[in-house]
Amino acid sequence: MPEKSAGTLADSTPVAPKISMPRRPAGTLYRGREGMWSWVLHRITGVAIYFFLLVHILDTALVRVSPAAYNAVIDTYKTPIMGLGETALVAAIGLHALNGLRIILIDFSSWGTRHQKLMFWIVIGLWVVLLAGFVPRQFMHIFGAH
């Protein structure tokens, strides 16, 4: 649009500048978008994996008690419900690991911060591929005949 000349200025009615209060705090680098949700997911998966690790060190320690004690506990890992739990665990670890690599790239590369949103979606894409490989195999093991 061309600049208005001084002559036409007189005709235009002055418009009050529109400044409205945002209803909630406006977006920052992290709030409410890929940056924030990746952080939420990283935190939740990190805590979940941690508590599994505590239990897993204890159940593995049963190999030092007796073969029968270890087998009894590990057999419960082969039931369908625990099989679904293992699926969730692998999903959580996969997301945490891939997003952890994304965090590392953001921290150490010169371009990471600029492409953090794209990298989040790449993480999701790789995670779907990972699960597409793992879940059918796992379901075959826990639901299939053996």
Partner: protein, 149 residues
Amino acid sequence: MSVIEAPRSPGVRTARKRRVNWEKWGWIYMRVSGVILVVLIFGHLFVNLVAGEGVNAIDFAFVAGKLADPFWIVWDTLLLWLALIHGSNGIRTIINDYANNAIVRRILLGAVLVSTIVLLTLGTLVIYTFDPCPAGAPADLLPSFCPVP
């Protein structure tokens, strides 16, 4: 007469001695261990859950077979130490974020520290004192390389 140096000029470090920046090393540890854990964890998951019969193959004999191999002894030791310290340090961050009450925070941090030390000790002892052929155990639960009584 003493001269007051401009802030941040080199040599103005008399008031605070230079100390180890533990928070920085924790930050670095999360990233270094993270990269190594990607290899260790996905290898662990592949061998135990995906290959062969998956979770159905796991029993005492399976573990004994793995722990008879120095390769898996090193692998499992690294996995234990790197993952547990990574996780504990992450939990420490989260406790510091949310536990505003000083007493509650100290209790939680103390519990994490104690459980980490106990589990590192227990896990390491299990790996290095493991006996694949315990006396008196039924032979059908033992790995095939155990001497037949």
